[in-house]
């Protein structure tokens, strides 16, 4: 009996210790959360920062943006993050050496964004740089990836006017890609990018630029497999999104047919896009059928001349918008297919593989050479709705 009592007492004490939840407690402010990572080419090697490297050269500069928890005090600091940086070749080695600059260990679970300077990408492939981030268990798949033509470190040093921590601000910009057709937003994070590498696909990443106190996300960095080949502008990105049907909303501008020199704007609400491969007598071509529904978002010309209550005029506008959308798609086709000779995110290859597997088997080895010669036929139908409140 007595033995049982002892055992149960011991059990209770053990349970108390464990359930209090303090045995492995670690306070939030005792962790250094890394919010953003910037990868640049190593410019000047500061001796204090860096370390003696047994192999490789001082090739990269890796900067980490760390969240600062304000704990009391009267300090009225404007910033809520700080930057640590290091130079070396292995990113893992640099990160571990950076612990020498930090009083608390670094936590990577909350990385929001990785900004990569294109100077780095001109020398090495994207997959080499991302390898550490995809391999390490602490990293999340939803980390956003951006490419900049300037210095990546200065972008993560930027303090947004909205007073959010810089990394959170940067990561949230891309969430507005639904309304902003100039940004490639869907499936451009770390997880998807790694999937693309594994599937041997081409990759697109959003481009971010900064000057003075303006940071802007627009356009796209284009990769052939993991090799950086250049930038596509906003118009090409818009055309690509419309071509592949990945846009949720868009604004399309045209010159007003009745008052030239003034713009009329179509706001896209809903669309139905179908990109289909066809094989006829061994000839491959694609058709892109698009139906768009939306309203008139803005009309800058003289309203009395642009009478949108007139069904005939509305029809003229619908045709003009459809023409502009076609032009936009063909522009994107020119930029990606003719100029860069790249099948963006390998969507065209994917379609052929699914719908015409036999043909795909024949062409897959020469796909990169064949692809730029394959024609695309676009047909667009625009329907303008919700007219009436204003002319």
């Amino acid at each position: 009996m007595a033995k049982k009592k002892w055992i149960s007492c011991l059990l209770i004490i053990c349970a108390c210790i464990v359930t209090a939840g303090c045995w492995d407690m670690r306070e939030l402010q005792d962790r250094n959360f890394v919010l953003a990572v910037a990868i640049d080419k190593a410019d000047e090697v500061k001796e204090v920062e860096t370390f003696v490297q047994p192999h490789g050269t001082k090739r990269y500069r890796v900067s980490l943006q760390i969240l600062k928890f304000a704990s009391g005090g009267e300090q009225k600091e404007e910033t809520n993050t700080f930057i640590k940086s290091n130079t070396g070749e292995s990113i893992f080695e640099m990160v571990r050496d950076m612990l020498g600059q930090s009083s608390k260990s670094l936590w990577f679970e909350h990385i929001q964004v990785i900004v990569i300077s294109d100077a780095v990408l001109k020398d090495v492939g994207l997959s080499e740089i991302l390898d550490f981030f995809k391999r390490d268990a602490e990293m999340r798949s939803r980390i956003k990836l951006y490419v900049t033509s300037g210095k990546a470190q200065s972008i993560i040093e930027f303090n947004p006017p909205s007073k959010e921590p810089g990394g959170v601000y940067l990561a949230n910009i891309i969430r507005l890609h639904i309304k902003n057709v100039h940004v490639v937003g869907s499936r451009t994070d770390l997880g998807y990018t790694i999937q693309y590498f594994d599937n041997n696909s081409n990759v697109l990443l959003p481009r971010i630029e900064m000057s003075d106190k303006v940071v802007k996300l627009s356009g796209s960095a284009v990769f052939k497999k993991d090799k950086f080949i250049g930038y596509a502008d906003e118009y090409a990105v818009a055309g690509l999104k419309i071509m592949l049907g990945t846009e949720k909303s868009a604004v399309v501008t045209i010159d007003s047919p009745k008052t030239p020199g003034h713009q009329v704007v179509f706001e896209l609400f809903r669309h139905d896009t179908k990109l289909t491969p066809h094989v006829e007598n061994g000839v491959i071509y694609y058709t892109d059928d698009i139906i768009m529904y939306g309203n008139i978002g803005e009309l800058q010309g003289d309203i009395s001349l642009n009478d949108t209550l007139d069904p005939e005029y509305l029809r003229i506008l619908e045709v003009a918008f459809a023409e502009e959308i076609k032009r936009n798609i063909y522009y994107a086709e020119k930029v990606f297919k003719k100029d860069m000779k790249v099948d963006p995110v390998s969507r065209f290859a994917g379609k052929l593989k699914i719908h015409e597997p036999n043909t795909w088997e024949q062409v897959k080895d020469q796909w990169d050479e064949i692809y730029p010669t394959i024609p695309l036929y676009v047909s667009v139908n625009v329907s303008i709705r919700n007219i009436g409140n204003h002319k």
Binding site: I173, D212, L217, E298, E324
Partner: protein
């Protein structure tokens, strides 16, 4: 037995159904299923529209603009659009380390032609979506207004469902963006400051406040009426609203000064209060002010054969607001007061005719005169309506008659 079993099942299913209903309702009425915190929204408080090439002279500014820009498939880079965004910082912490909630604003911009396209592209500069329900003011630079008229600038704002009718419009001869960057010394957000200043038009007839906002302006454009927009100017850290910009069929015509704005208020009877100053009757060089309390104004159109003329009868009541005429001046004396009344009436007449002649010179009808003729003399209106602004209006005459009564004398001499 069978029936008993049935009733038991029925009871249980009723209880389950009831539970599910309660759970569903409590989920919904909790109000959290689509919650969005205030600080998660970017409220746009004010909008500035400039000409694309205004400002941006320094290299730094040029670099900035090249980043803000985007490739535009159609049209030109005509306008520079700026938003003033409200920055809400919630209070945080407690005890000594507590930080108070604070309000501030910042400005972001883009360049293009379509306001809508610029708006959507500006999403690349922010981390949260824009909310336009609380726009207070739209400031337009004179350059932008002259470039393409008013219609292209405000079309998106009256077409979009998020915008409100009571958004105030302002015009400035300088750079409009600077007004958004202005931080009022009162600590209010800039947009609120601009909109609220206009609300004081009741006491300040130098502001054409009776044309309050976007809604009226849109209506005026649709009806092809003259649009009157308050003028605002910024020099160093002084912002001043006063005077009017006139637009005819959406095209900028001219500014009129504060004195003419006040005169306009007199013939459209839109003033609630006004200060009318005259020179002291017996003490030249000194000034005396009449404060208007109440008035009755009647503008009537008359047609005499081919001849069209207007009479304007005004009865004003008020008191002596200020007398700088010196101690000897006796305001208790009835004769003296009567003299003042006559002088004030003369001054009001002068002010009305001053404004009226400016309108005639510009061939712009402020709206009241055509409307009166149309309503009371429709036949005459039919005859002249085709050439009203260019030929008829500049030649009609206005005969004002003003009667001033000074009341509430006695407390001071």
């Amino acid at each position: 037995m069978l029936s008993l079993g049935h009733s038991a099942i029925g009871k249980w299913s009723k209880v389950c159904l009831g539970c599910i209903l309660i759970i569903t309702i409590s989920l919904l009425i909790g109000g959290c299923w689509d919650q969005r915190e205030l600080q998660e929204r970017l409220f746009v408080l004010a909008v500035a529209i400039d000409k694309a090439d205004e400002g941006g002279d320094t290299k730094k500014e040029k670099d900035k603009r090249s980043i803000e820009n985007f490739v535009q498939p159609n049209g030109n880079k005509l306008y520079h659009l700026s938003y003033q965004i409200l920055q809400l910082t919630p209070a945080s912490g407690s005890g000594e380390g507590a930080r108070k909630a604070s309000i501030s604003t910042y400005v972001i911009s883009s360049t293009g032609e379509s306001m809508f396209e610029m708006l959507r592209d500006m999403l690349g500069q922010v981390s949260k979506g824009f909310w336009f329900e609380h726009i207070q003011a739209i400031v337009i630079s004179e350059g932008a207004a002259k470039q393409g008229g008013l219609q292209p600038l405000i079309d998106m704002f009256h077409r979009d469902t998020e915008m409100r009718w009571l958004i105030k419009l302002l015009i400035t001869s300088g750079e409009a963006k600077k007004l958004l960057e202005f931080k009022p010394p009162s600590g209010e957000p800039g947009g609120m400051f601009l909109a609220r200043s206009l609300r004081l038009y009741k006491k300040n007839p130098h502001v054409p406040g009776w044309i309050p906002g976007l809604g009226e302006t849109t209506q005026a454009i649709d009806n092809k009426k003259t649009v009157q927009i308050s003028r605002v100017e910024l020099v160093d850290d002084i912002v001043k609203i006063g005077g009017t910009a006139l637009f005819k069929e959406g095209k900028f015509v001219e500014y009129i000064d504060e004195y003419a704005t006040k005169g306009t208020a007199f013939f459209s009877a839109s003033e609630k209060s006004a200060i009318i100053t005259i020179e002291c009757p017996d003490h030249p060089g000194k000034i005396l002010a009449f404060e208007l309390f109440r008035h009755e104004t009647k503008l009537t159109a008359h047609v005499n054969g081919e001849d069209i003329y207007y009479t304007l009868d005004i009865g004003m009541k008020g008191n002596l607001g200020e007398s700088q005429c010196g101690n000897q001046y006796n305001a208790m004396d009835e004769e003296t007061i009567h003299k003042v009344e006559l002088l004030v009436a003369e001054e009001v007449k002068h002010n009305i005719l001053y404004a009226f002649h400016i309108y005639q010179g510009l061939q712009v009808d402020p709206g009241d005169f055509a409307a009166k003729l149309k309503a009371h003399e429709p036949l005459a209106w039919e005859r002249v309506k085709e050439h009203w602004d260019e030929a008829t209006f500049p030649n009609v005459s206005l005969l004002p008659s003003v009667n001033v009564t000074i009341e509430s004398i006695g407390s001071h001499k």
